[in-house]
Symmetry: C2
Subunit: 439 residues, 2 copies
């Protein structure tokens, strides 16, 4: 690490030697614009003089940075605050009362903590929905990773509230565009069909189209949502969203536990990406697993998300990939469903395609979001099948180096400023609880 501390300062040309990609020994050369400019066994010869820094990969497995397609990043502040409760009690007695006291600074610090956790566990891009999103954007900007950020639009079927939400959404999208940061995109975030009116949903669809941005929504998380939708609108949630114009290739729908087969086909026809959130679904007892066999059979782009830390309680996508594979096999009663390579694709290329940053593939010309997984760990011993070890044996702790957009964010386990981020987030979380208890 001597003489390497400058490596964290800015994007610079990088040569990483002694890597393994898809079972082959390669070096990777990243140019100063953050693009993968070379990937072969010869890069060390071709680019040695050119690279500002050289990292010895020490036979690490190189993967595209993982992509978390559904989370509420600032909820790291609520990690462990309330668990093991019935959903409605958990929300009304614990989560909402605390969230009522959240400030923009809390969201900034919580999102900083979330980005730190993601960097440490190999995630370089995420799809977020929460409040005080200007502050979340500031945190993402400083962290160095990528975020698609949406303000959680909730009108509770109230016209006045709807107008406020439209305004807040519009302001936030304009704010993100003004940042002109290629690592940060805005999307429109209608929360769910049970919290947003039909008019609200239609406005969101129209606004996303007009702004040429994506949409992020919860869909079919619980059986009650489906039953209520059929009672209210006479159709299943996915068909209702389609009627509102929400379903497009820029849309990510989270959870999707209770879809039927016709809904899976519709999602494919509209080009929607589906985010599977198995740990959260299990913890909150949704009692049905997202129908991966139907979705993958229909050809839907299925990706992976952790949901927020209040219902998981971490942001480790390696762990999530394992739980996804286990849950699908268990629930759909077939150990061949969602094999390791598909679970890994969900966490990498599929998620990347959903968010559209041009990451997710280790090929020349792709954006350099790269993570290095240490093979000198028990979880990679023996190494009969790296993909199996990555999904079933390792967790995010096996990631040693994280690069996003060509910039080194973690090197050999070191992340500059980590302690300050942890401590300020800790303090902010305790203060938040104190305020809520005193109110």
């Amino acid at each position: 690490m001597d003489g390497m501390s400058d490596i964290f300062e800015k994007k610079c040309s990088l040569l990483i030697t002694n890597l393994v990609v898809n079972g082959k020994a390669v070096d990777i050369f990243i140019d100063e614009t953050g693009i993968i400019a070379g990937i072969s066994e010869n890069e060390r010869v071709r680019h040695k003089g050119e690279a500002e820094f050289i990292i010895d990969g020490d036979h690490a497995i190189a993967l595209p940075g993982l992509v978390n397609t559904h989370t509420h990043a600032a909820m790291t502040l609520l990690r462990g605050y309330a668990d093991d409760m019935v959903l409605q009690d958990w929300l009304s007695q614990k989560i909402w009362p605390l969230e009522a006291h959240l400030t923009g600074d809390d969201v900034y610090l919580g999102t900083r903590l979330a980005c730190l956790e993601m960097i440490r566990s190999g995630t370089t891009a995420f799809n977020d929905m929460y409040f005080f999103m200007d502050d979340a954007a500031r945190a993402v900007d400083e962290s160095g990773i990528r975020g698609v950020l949406s303000y959680g639009f909730i009108d509770l079927f109230n016209e006045e509230k709807r107008e406020t939400e439209c305004k807040t959404t519009g302001n936030f999208v304009a704010q993100v565009k003004s940042l002109n940061n290629p690592r940060i995109k805005a999307s429109v975030g209608p929360h769910a069909i049970y919290t947003v009116s039909k008019e609200g949903l239609m406005w969101c669809a129209e606004f996303a189209k007009e702004q040429k941005i994506g949409t992020h929504i919860h869909l079919s998380e619980t059986e009650k949502e489906v039953q209520d939708c059929v009672a209210r609108y006479g159709m299943s949630p996915t068909f209702f969203l389609d009627e509102c114009g929400i379903l497009t290739p820029g849309t990510v729908t989270a959870h999707c536990c209770w879809l039927d087969e016709a809904e899976c086909t519709l999602l494919k026809n509209r080009g929607v990406s589906v985010s599977h959130n198995p740990a959260s679904n299990m913890k909150l007892a949704t009692h049905r697993a997202m129908p991966y066999p139907w979705l993958s059979g229909a050809g839907v782009n299925v990706c992976l998300g952790t949901d927020g830390c209040a219902s998981n309680n971490n942001l480790d996508l390696f762990e999530e990939a394992k739980i996804a594979a286990l849950l699908q096999k268990f629930y759909w009663n077939d150990p061949t469903i969602l094999p390791a390579h598909e679970a890994l694709a969900m966490a990498t290329v599929n998620g990347a395609d959903a968010l559209g940053f041009g990451t997710g593939r280790l090929i020349v010309g792709a954006a350099a979001d790269i993570i290095l997984v240490n093979t000198r760990r028990v979880c990679n011993t023996p190494l009969h099948n790296p993909t199996s070890n990555l999904v079933y044996s390792c967790n995010g702790g096996a990631v040693e180096t994280t690069i996003c957009d060509g910039r080194v964010l973690m090197l050999d386990g070191e992340i500059p400023g980590e302690e300050a981020i942890r401590e300020s987030a800790s303090f902010s979380a305790l203060e938040l609880v104190r305020r809520a208890q005193n109110s």
Copy 2:
């Protein structure tokens, strides 16, 4: 770490300061016999001069060493060798052909690797069943952790084979007793009702009673096992085992996915401990989760196991505790089932009570199996509820120091000899596959 390398050499008196136990700040003093001799906020004053070594706990959470109540340790060598297959194909095409080439040295090296993984992730005692168990015992002896070891007794309903299995079991038990190592106990390991005849089971029960040792058996893992048992013996597997005399307070039954309520009551009445193995059950698609509500309702001692690395694929009991809590909530459709403190108890005190080494509680007079979990990690930030973080947010990677029987086996992440163990196990695993492929 300067001057601390001797700490690994042998059991010695130890003072560990700045710990948190059950939310209270304490120091722990361990005497030179490996017993917890003091635990309070004053130990540093009372024992400073006396302690051979002083470890600064740096506000770590101290827990009893975790207890893995069902595994096949040497199967670490098969980690990632075959996944995502139907059980029968997986066994007949992949696992059994490889196991046919296993040698005693392989089992020694695989068990060494397993013990290394357990030390690193905070497990200090395990309940094992496999072949070449003399070699497994040698590995456990050298590793410094505790093992209850059983030879997997499989007679396949053949009288001649049964006699061989009785002899092998008898020899192994005698061998373990001759070691006179308080960290290693033998138990009797009839594999399951579908691989062992009634006569074999009855012999095992009688022999365990005569030798005053425990029993370790797979029970009710698949629906087929239950159906076949009812067809063959006219009763459910648990009642059949009871008829054979297998069920005693020294018995650990693994899996137990397909128990009915009457079986749960019988297990309680016989004082049996039940080992829950959720990751393996999900990966192999057993399609039903162990009925924790019935078992805990009946008052059965329910503990936790990882199963072997071929069907998990790691030995991380923190991960297993999370998956247990998630699976129970999901399958039994209630988010309040198996709350974090019960999941942690399964991995600690319940497991310890099942194996009977006198570990599992941080109290004066208990055996000093203690692990220190770093609170300066993202997974413990914020720290609203340490128990929640331990179960839902952290994994075994948060363990920094592991002490078994008063001897320090890992200190601040360092385990002496780790690289050699990993490398020899790796080599042995590759050679094993080569032998199997050339045969």
